[in-house]
C-alpha cells in the first residue's frame, strides 16, 4: 500500500521537474516551429547563474528565505539577455527555412555555449543546496521527504498555468496564436511577427533558465548537465505533441509516474522507462497525445 503512495509522490516530483524543463521547449516549438537544441544550454546557464548568485547572496549575509527570489532573478537575467540575443543574432537569419536547418543552428549554438559556460564558471562543481535544506523535511507514509521538490511542483504548476493563461487570456497570447495559425495573414493584418517571435523565444528561454535555476539547489551543477536534460525535454514534448502545453504536462506525468514505478517495482527498467513510453505513445498517436496532423488544403 505504502508502495503506491511512494510511486505517486516520487512520480509527481519527477514529473514536475520534467514538465519544468520541457515547458519552454514545447512553447518555443509551438510558436516558432523551432526545435531549440540550445534549450539545454539555457537550462545549464540558469543552473549556473542560479547557484552562483545564491552563493554571493548568502555570502553577503542575506537570509536564505529570500534566495528563492534570487533563483527567479537568475532565470529572468539569463532569459532576458541570452534569449533575445540568440533570437535576434542567429535564429532571425534562417526562420521559414527548413525546420531541420534551424535545429542544426541551435545545435551549433549549444556546442559553443557548453564551452562558454566552462570558460565563465570553470569546471568546478557548484553544490548550492541551502535553499533545498532550508525548507526542511516532511514525513509521507513513514518516509522523510525533502519539502523543496514540492516547491518545484508548485513552480511547475504556476509556470504552466501562467503560460497557458498568457496564451488564452492576454492580447500577446492572441497575437501569438494568430501567428501560429498563419504567419502571412497575421503579418498582412499588421501584426509585428518578428517582434512576436522575439518575445516568444525570450519567454521560452526564461522558462528553460527557470528550470535550471530551480533545479540547481538539488543537484551538483557540473559540465554536461545541458546534454542530459535536452533529450528528456524532447521526449516529454514529443509525447505530449510538440507545441502543446497540456500535452507536455500529461507527458511529464506519464513518464514521471512510470519511472517511479520502475524504480520501485523493476529497477532494471529505469533506463528504459522514458523511451518505452515515447515509443508506445508515438506508435499509437503519430503526432503525440495532443498533436494534430496538418491537413493539406486542395
Amino acid at each position: 500500500m505504502e508502495r503506491l503512495v511512494y510511486i505517486a509522490v516520487d512520480g509527481v516530483i519527477f514529473a514536475s521537474w520534467l514538465f519544468l524543463v520541457s515547458l519552454g521547449l514545447t512553447f518555443i516549438y509551438g510558436v516558432l516551429r523551432v526545435l531549440n537544441v540550445a534549450h539545454g544550454s539555457l537550462y545549464a546557464l540558469g543552473a549556473y547563474m542560479g547557484s552562483s548568485l545564491v552563493l554571493l547572496f548568502l555570502r553577503a549575509g542575506y537570509p536564505t528565505a529570500l534566495s528563492y527570489l534570487v533563483l527567479l532573478g537568475a532565470a529572468l537575467l539569463i532569459g532576458l539577455t541570452v534569449g533575445p540575443f540568440l533570437e535576434r543574432v542567429f535564429l532571425r537569419r534562417i526562420y521559414l527555412k527548413e525546420e531541420v536547418l534551424v535545429l542544426l543552428l541551435t545545435f551549433a549554438i549549444s556546442l559553443m555555449l557548453e564551452d562558454v559556460i566552462k570558460l565563465v564558471w570553470g569546471v568546478e562543481p557548484y553544490l548550492v543546496n541551502a535553499p533545498y535544506l532550508a525548507l526542511g523535511q516532511v514525513k509521507v507514509a513513514g518516509v522523510a521527504y525533502a519539502v523543496y521538490p514540492f516547491l518545484l511542483t508548485g513552480i511547475a504548476v504556476a509556470a504552466g498555468t501562467l503560460v497557458w493563461a498568457t496564451m488564452a487570456r492576454t492580447r500577446f497570447g492572441r497575437l501569438v496564436v494568430s501567428v501560429i495559425e498563419d504567419r502571412e495573414i497575421s503579418a498582412a493584418s499588421g501584426v509585428n511577427v518578428p517582434l512576436v517571435f522575439t518575445f516568444a523565444f525570450t519567454l521560452g528561454a526564461i522558462l528553460a533558465a527557470l528550470g535550471g535555476a530551480f533545479t540547481a539547489p538539488m543537484i551538483s551543477v557540473v559540465p554536461g548537465v545541458a546534454v542530459e536534460v535536452i533529450v528528456l525535454a524532447f521526449a516529454v514534448a514529443a509525447i505530449g505533441g510538440l507545441g502543446s502545453i497540456e500535452g507536455a504536462a500529461i507527458g511529464a506525468l506519464l513518464v514521471g509516474l512510470l519511472r517511479a514505478a520502475a524504480v520501485h517495482l523493476a529497477p532494471e527498467l529505469d533506463l528504459l522507462a522514458i523511451y518505452a513510453v515515447m515509443a508506445l505513445v508515438l506508435l499509437v498517436r503519430p503526432y503525440g497525445l495532443f498533436g494534430r496532423a496538418e491537413v493539406r488544403r486542395i
Binding site: 562543481p125 543546496n129 541551502a130 522523510a144 524504480v263
Partner: protein, 440 residues
C-alpha cells in the same frame, strides 16, 4: 589529519636541493637521447568526467612534469626529466565517442609524434586504445580505467596500468563492512547503470555473500548515468531499511545523491559505503562529506595517503596550487608518469644508452617502483597491471575550509588481501573464495 601541516615546509627544502643538484644533471645526457621526450596526457577536459577526474588528472600531470623538468622531485625520482631528458606534455580531451578517442590516439602518436601516452579514465576507452597502442608500438600507461578486463581478457605488449583495477575498491570495502559490522544481515546497492556500476556491485555483493552467505540482498538500484534526481531511489532505500548500502557513484552524481539523501536521513538509518567518496573533496561551493558514511578513495589516497617523502611533497605542492590535498586521480597519473620514468631509467641503466621502446616495455614489466603515494608493484597481467593496497574509514568530520575529512576506524587491506593472484581472473577468484588471499 595533523601530519599534513608539517608537509607544507618540506617542498621548500626540496626545491632548494633540486636547484643545487640541477647543475650537474643537465650534463648527464645519455648517448642517443632525444632533446625532449613528448608525453601525450589524455583525460576528460569537458563533460561530466572533467571536474572530479579529468581536470585533477591534468593538474597532477602538470605539477609533476614541471617539477621533474626542474629536477625538484624528491628521491628516488630526483633525476631531471626522464633519464635526464626534459618532458614536453601534450594534453588532450578524453571526451567524445570511442572512435574519436582512437583517432586522437593515432594523431598523438603519428602527428604529434609523442614518445608515450599516459592517462585515460573511462573503462570504455582503455580496451579500445590498448590494441592500437600495440599496433603503433607506443608505450601507453593507463592511469585509471576501472575495469579489470583490460589485462584479464587480453595481453598487450606496450600497455601498462599503474593502479589497481576496480576489484580492490568493491572487494576491499566489502571486507571493511564485514569487519566493522560482523553481524551484517541486509545489504542494498545503488550504482549507475553502466559497466563500472555493474562490476562494482557484482564484486561487492559476491564478496559479501561469499564470506557471509546468510546476508540478504534487499535491493539493487540502477539509476541512469548523470540522472540528476534520486528522490525515488532514496525513498525506496528509506523504506527498505537495509543495514548497509553500497554505492560506486562518482563525480556530480555522487554529490547530487549525497545532497538529496542527507536531509532525508538516509545516512542516519543505514551505513552507506562509497568507494569513490574522495570525489567529494574536490573544491567547489557547498562541498560536504556526510558523516557516518564509509569513505573510500580507490586505494590509499586523499586522507588515506601513506606518509612518504614523495606523497608529502606531491600532496603539499598540489595543495599549494589547487587548495586541497589530492584525491586518487592526480596521484594515479603521477604514478603513471613516474612508472614510465622508472622504466626508462632502468632500461637506460641496463644498456647505457637511450633505450628503444621495446627495451623500455621490457623493463616496465614486473617493475616495482616508488609511486607518488607509496610503492607500485606491476604484478598482474604478465607484469602490466599494478596491484595496490586499499583502505577505508568512517567519516567523523569534514572541514570545508581545508577540504579534509577526519576518519575513524581506518582499516587498510594489504595487496595480497584484495588483489587476485597472478593468472587468476578476479571473478573466479571471488567465486572460489579468494584462494591465496592473505588478510589481517
Amino acid at each position: 589529519m595533523s601530519r599534513r601541516s608539517s608537509a607544507l615546509m618540506i617542498p621548500l627544502l626540496l626545491a632548494v636541493a633540486g636547484s643545487l643538484l640541477a647543475v650537474d644533471q643537465t650534463s648527464a645526457q645519455p648517448p642517443g637521447a632525444p632533446k625532449e621526450l613528448k608525453i601525450g596526457v589524455v583525460s576528460f577536459l569537458s563533460g561530466p568526467g572533467a571536474p572530479h577526474s579529468g581536470i585533477p588528472t591534468r593538474q597532477g600531470a602538470e605539477l609533476l612534469i614541471e617539477a621533474l623538468n626542474a629536477g625538484q622531485v624528491p628521491p628516488p625520482h630526483d633525476k631531471r626529466g626522464i633519464g635526464g631528458v626534459p618532458i614536453k606534455a601534450v594534453y588532450t580531451d578524453e571526451a567524445g565517442p570511442v572512435d574519436r578517442q582512437v583517432t586522437e590516439f593515432r594523431r598523438l602518436v603519428l602527428d604529434e609524434k609523442v614518445n608515450l601516452v599516459v592517462g585515460y579514465i573511462s573503462s570504455a576507452n582503455c580496451p579500445a586504445i590498448a590494441p592500437v597502442a600495440d599496433e603503433l608500438r607506443t608505450l601507453t600507461v593507463f592511469s585509471i580505467c576501472g575495469t579489470q578486463r583490460v589485462f584479464e581478457d587480453a595481453e598487450y605488449k606496450y600497455v601498462f596500468r599503474t593502479r589497481a583495477h576496480q576489484i580492490i575498491d568493491a572487494l576491499g570495502i566489502a571486507r571493511y563492512v564485514l569487519a566493522v559490522k560482523p553481524d551484517l544481515k541486509t545489504i542494498a546497492g545503488i550504482n549507475q547503470d553502466y559497466a563500472w556500476g555493474r562490476d562494482s556491485w557484482a564484486t561487492f555483493s559476491d564478496t559479501i555473500l561469499q564470506v557471509k552467505p546468510d546476508v540478504r540482498v534487499v535491493d539493487a538500484l540502477w539509476p541512469k548515468l548523470f540522472a540528476g534526481d534520486y528522490s525515488a531511489e532514496i525513498t525506496k532505500l528509506l523504506a527498505a531499511k537495509p543495514a548497509v548500502i553500497f554505492s560506486s557513484l562518482w563525480g556530480g552524481d555522487l554529490e547530487t545523491f549525497v545532497a538529496q539523501a542527507t536531509p532525508r536521513g538516509l545516512f542516519d538509518q543505514s551505513l552507506v559505503v562509497f568507494t569513490v567518496a574522495d570525489n567529494l573533496l574536490v573544491p567547489g561551493p557547498g562541498r560536504f562529506v556526510p558523516t557516518r558514511t564509509v569513505f573510500g578513495a580507490r586505494g590509499l589516497y586523499g586522507p588515506l595517503t601513506p606518509d612518504t617523502p614523495l606523497s608529502r611533497w606531491f600532496g603539499g605542492e598540489f595543495r599549494k596550487r589547487h587548495g586541497y590535498f589530492p584525491i586518487h586521480d592526480p596521484f594515479n597519473v603521477a604514478a603513471s608518469i613516474l612508472g614510465a620514468k622508472a622504466a626508462f631509467e632502468k632500461a637506460l641503466a641496463a644498456t647505457g644508452r637511450w633505450p628503444t621502446v621495446e627495451e623500455v616495455v621490457k623493463a616496465f614489466a614486473h617493475l616495482e617502483y616508488e609511486g607518488a603515494a607509496g610503492p607500485i608493484k606491476m604484478t598482474l597481467g604478465k607484469g602490466h597491471q599494478a596491484v595496490e593496497p586499499v583502505g577505508f574509514g568512517i567519516v567523523k568530520s569534514f572541514d570545508p575550509a581545508t577540504h579534509e575529512v577526519t576518519l575513524e576506524q581506518v582499516k587498510t587491506f594489504r595487496v595480497e588481501c584484495v588483489n587476485p593472484p597472478a593468472g587468476v581472473k578476479s571473478v573466479d577468484w571471488i567465486r572460489q573464495g579468494f584462494p591465496g588471499a592473505v588478510c589481517p
